[in-house]
């Protein structure tokens, strides 16, 4: 009854919230049986004609595109025509007649949103001119975007779509300026995760604004802002790219933007915007040149991975390429972009045993030269957790995957043709485990591997590479071993582990000197655990841990404050237990070599994944939502 009361109470919310969340409805009612063609007086003749018509084969081939022969993109149009063609699903009209159900289609939401008013800020000094890195980048020299950046004198923080500039003055720090990040061209329905880069001279912020708009669908805007005077931030340039934002990096003063562009399900070959990635640098949308589009030998998806290169200070487009393949996770090294996608492979033997396996294809796109060069692809077993599951070192790409195999026996009922499946339990090779692959980059082949090293049923929770070492945490439910791999000799890969430990780490951070930090959950899912491991002679041991019961935390890696030099580790937690609500806090721990000690615990607003912190000259600055909290910690 109480549940129903709550449901009804939610039903009475303000109309404005209901309309705000509305999406165009395009539900198609489940089709009814198609009425058969009526039969004339001469039944036999009409029955014959009817039978002939019913069993005439339906054309399965894609539409004819020969009219576009001779156009610049004709080869690509032919490829995309095959990929986007949706077969009728029936071989003849009899099957079509028998097909009772048509799928319910949903259109993407394209409602507009009101544009918010801009905020103003107080006076403040000009921005300092020394850049300080505050993001724990995966690869040295390859800068990742984040919602926090800083100079000598100011911290820039993105609270959703509001950029805030704070002065760095210890406990006298204050907000000095702000700027609303928005598209000036589109009325957009939703803004995705907004993040930014600060130039080396600290005078320009480049913001990546992904969004969906009514007119243009998924879009990305690159917006450069003049922050030389943080009290008076102004917009400089804007570049627009069609597609959905995947990732970006700043390398050697150049911004690499990686996105996905999906070809329309029914492309209009006369309208390039429906089947080609396009960029607007201020002179209208222009399609990527055909010579910059790389097609794999066997394309399987009408979706591009697009990589654009921009001069970081001027946003001049210096290069653009597209790879006709779907991408999920992306890893960027100092010279290559690795794009991945996972799928399930299925095979069936003569006895009807069907085996399914997860697979991941990894493609290497070399960007260090001019343009973009496809250096090959390789497929490994399993699927990848995130960008930290890959690492390039000395011509070798190391990859950790969760492998997943299942088997079932397929049976067909001879009476009605229905198919059922009996899962085969207890088969030795079924279930999940973890594998590590070392790929030779010169020819994209597997150079070495250790497969299924984790106990059956475990999945990869976190991975970290450190030179020739790899650390992998796997878990099933609430226990984890942490594996330490020595990859210095690929012909003799060795590893050791901690054995079973309560809880698991969703993030692993190498601290150097054989120490590893794990942040994750403890013996119950409502306990947040921070644990330090040490690599010993015979195994890996837990040195110490610190737990927060009845708590929740964010698995966003960039939300963690990691200071290896001072052994300081910070992050946000939300703690509540029954009627006791300690609310949301930011905590800072110090490792003294023996144990972890909490030295800061402060209330902080905003969302946990958007918490950030910086340690400057004895002061610890914590940012979340509209809060800036500063504590002197000496």
């Amino acid at each position: 009854m109480k549940k129903e009361k709550m449901i009804r109470a939610i039903g009475k919310i303000d109309d404005k919230y209901i309309e705000e969340a509305a999406a165009p409805t395009a539900t198609r009612r489940i089709g009814k049986w198609i009425k058969p063609v009526s039969i004339a007086a001469c039944v036999c003749l009409m029955m014959s004609a009817f039978s002939l018509w019913m069993f005439l084969p339906i054309d399965q081939s894609p539409p004819d595109v020969s009219e576009y022969a001779g156009t610049t993109y004709y080869g690509l149009i032919q490829t995309l025509n095959e990929l986007t063609h949706q077969k009728p699903g029936a071989e003849n009209n009899w099957q079509l007649f028998s097909d009772a159900i048509r799928p319910i289609r949903r259109e993407p939401a394209k409602d507009g949103a009101a544009v918010e008013e801009m905020a103003s800020g107080a006076n403040g000094a000009a921005s300092g001119n020394e850049y300080h890195e505050v993001t724990d980048n995966q690869v040295a020299g390859v800068i990742e975007a984040d919602i926090i950046k800083r100079s000598d004198s100011h911290i820039f923080y993105l609270n959703g779509d509001m950029l805030i500039a704070y002065s760095i003055e210890g406990e006298q720090s204050e907000k000095v300026g702000s700027f609303l990040i928005e598209s000036t061209q589109d009325q957009y329905f939703y803004g995705g995760k907004i993040e930014m880069y600060l130039s080396a001279d600290c005078k320009t912020l480049t913001v990546v604004l992904p969004y969906s708009s009514k007119q243009n669908g998924a879009m990305i805007e690159l917006i450069s802002l003049d922050v030389s005077n943080p009290a008076s931030i102004s917009r400089k340039d804007t570049v627009r790219i069609r597609g959905s934002y995947l990732s970006s990096r700043m390398v050697n003063g150049e911004l690499l933007l990686i996105s996905n562009f999906r070809v329309n399900s029914e492309p209009d070959w006369n309208d390039e915007s429906t089947f080609l990635p396009q960029i607007d640098t201020g002179e209208g949308y222009k399609s990527i040149p055909v010579e910059n589009i790389i097609c794999p030998e066997t394309p399987i998806s009408a979706k591009y991975t697009v990589i654009c290169r921009f001069d970081a200070s001027s946003l001049d487009l210096t290069g653009q390429s597209a790879y006709l393949s779907y991408s999920e996770d992306v890893y960027v090294s100092q010279n290559s972009v690795y794009v991945t996608y996972s799928y399930t492979e299925q095979s069936k033997d003569s006895e009807g045993v069907v085996t399914t396996r997860s697979k991941t294809e990894i493609s290497r796109l070399f960007y260090a030269g001019e343009g973009l060069e496809h250096k090959g692809s390789v497929t490994v077993d399993g699927y990848i957790k995130d960008q930290y599951s890959l690492d390039e070192l000395d011509g070798i790409l190391r990859v950790v995957t969760t492998t997943n195999q299942s088997q079932y026996l397929e049976r067909t009922d001879k009476n009605n043709g229905s198919v059922s499946a009996d899962v085969i339990l207890g088969a030795e090779e079924t279930g999940t485990s973890a594998s590590i692959y070392c790929l030779e980059l010169s020819d994209m082949t597997v150079r070495a591997k250790v497969e299924n090293f984790a106990p059956r049923g475990e999945i990869v929770q976190s991975v970290r590479f450190d030179g020739t070492a790899a650390y992998v945490c796997t878990a099933v439910q609430l226990t984890d071993p942490v594996f330490f791999f020595d990859l210095s000799d690929l012909d003799n890969i060795t590893y050791k582990d901690t054995g079973t430990i309560e809880g698991f780490s969703s993030s692993l951070i190498n601290l150097g000197e054989g120490y590893l930090l794990g942040i994750g959950v403890g013996e119950s899912r409502s306990t947040v655990k921070v644990e330090i491991y040490e690599e010993g002679k015979d195994g890996v041991e837990s040195v110490c841990k610190y737990e927060y019961p009845y708590s929740d935390y964010s698995t966003e890696y960039k939300a963690y404050f990691i200071d290896r030099e001072n052994n300081l580790f910070g992050f946000g937690i939300y703690q509540s237990s029954g009627r006791v609500d300690n609310g949301q806090r930011y905590v800072l721990l110090h490792f003294d070599g023996y144990k972890l000690n909490q030295i800061v615990s402060e209330e902080l607003g905003g969302w946990l994944e958007a918490h950030r912190a910086v340690y400057i000259d004895g002061y610890f600055y914590m940012l979340g939502g509209e809060d800036l909290v500063v504590k002197k910690i000496g």
């Binding site: 109480k2 549940k3 129903e4 009361k5 709550m6 449901i7 009804r8 109470a9 939610i10 039903g11 009475k12 919310i13 303000d14 109309d15 919230y17 209901i18 309309e19 705000e20 969340a21 509305a22 999406a23 409805t25 395009a26 539900t27 009612r29 489940i30 949903r106 993407p108 939401a109 949103a113 959703g160 939703y190 803004g191 995705g192 992904p210 969906s212 998924a218 959905s244 929740d552 939300y574 509540s576 009627r579 609500d581 609310g583 969302w607 946990l608």
Partner: protein, 185 residues
Amino acid sequence: MEDSRIIELYWERDERAISQTEKKYGKYCHSIALGILRNELDAEECVNDVYLRVWESIPPHRPDRLPSFIGKITRNVSINRYIRNRAQKRNGFTEVIFDEVAEIIPDPQSASDAMDDQILSDAINAFLATLPKRTRIIFVRRYWYMSTVADIADTLGLSESNVKVTLLRTRKKLRAYLLKEGINV
């Protein structure tokens, strides 16, 4: 036809009001009903009930926003139908949403007097005003529109796990908010 004109037809007791409502909002109502009942026949019957309820409600009401007015009626009719059906056949999907909502209730075992419905709704409205827009949209789409996590993720361009985590945290925050306001359900 403009909403204001449709409302006038209701006030004039002109039955064209119903056909115009069906033409303009039929799919909208159907999608809400189908989202809750997950059954085509039940959804169609509910939508027919909705037209009757709207006919009986206008007058005396003269709604400022006709789509929200009709949407709320549709939701209520569908939920009533769902609760009635629950005894015979459980709709696993909607039951999951009911169970999620149960997490928000501050003290489900409490025997103390429950708050008036309007006070509870006002509190929920106040809470929604504090949320970032994206979070609010996710919450409303799940618990008002009864959308699936997959639909919400697809509509907003998010991953399903992102949506699930957002919903979990928002439920916890709402629960904490109601506790702090001293509101019992």
